[in-house]
């Protein structure tokens, strides 16, 4: 992926997924980790999905 990104013209935001279940030794592309990126989204409590179904 590193070589592909170097050849591409686009400069996307890079997010690394670090698989804790099957650890990989590959050097991360960027400083942004998948779990940290996900955590930046609005957290939704488990019970919230039931309340959203009221419109159907």
């Amino acid at each position: 992926m590193k070589a592909a990104l170097a050849q591409a013209k686009v400069r996307p935001l890079l997010i690394d997924y670090d698989d804790r279940e099957f650890p990989q030794a590959g050097e991360p592309l960027a400083a942004l980790d998948y779990e940290a990126f996900l955590a930046a989204g609005d957290a939704i409590s488990s019970g919230a999905c039931r309340r959203t179904s009221g419109s159907r």
């Binding site: 992926m1 050849q7 997010i15 989204g41």
Partner: protein, 134 residues
Amino acid sequence: MSAQTPADPYTLNLDKCAANYQPLTPLTFLQRAAEVYPAHTAVIHGKLRLTYVDFYARCRQLASALARRGIGVGDTVTVMLANTPPMLEAHYAVPMAGAVLHSLNTRLDAAVLAFQLDHAEAKIVICDREFAPS
């Protein structure tokens, strides 16, 4: 059309709206699964287990994170992942954000991947460390 010509009744008042047109999307499958089978196992990955309610919550949180980065309709999110939980989450979260999921083939060479990144106008790339160096 002149004022005298009667309008075709089948073209009147039948614009797409919520009452007559609902796009079919897998996103509703996940919402329903989380409502009907909240405690059922949705994801098994090594020792990790996610129930449907947790999986749905994570997908929505990822969609929210994408939206906060300005990802929306017309944008492309590229992933370079094996069959791991983020791959599943991206399949729901990216369309939830209104964007297009672009899943790269892990067997392609760098030149072809570079072409795809440019052609797709990738805004975000999520990459497993397994595939990062090559």
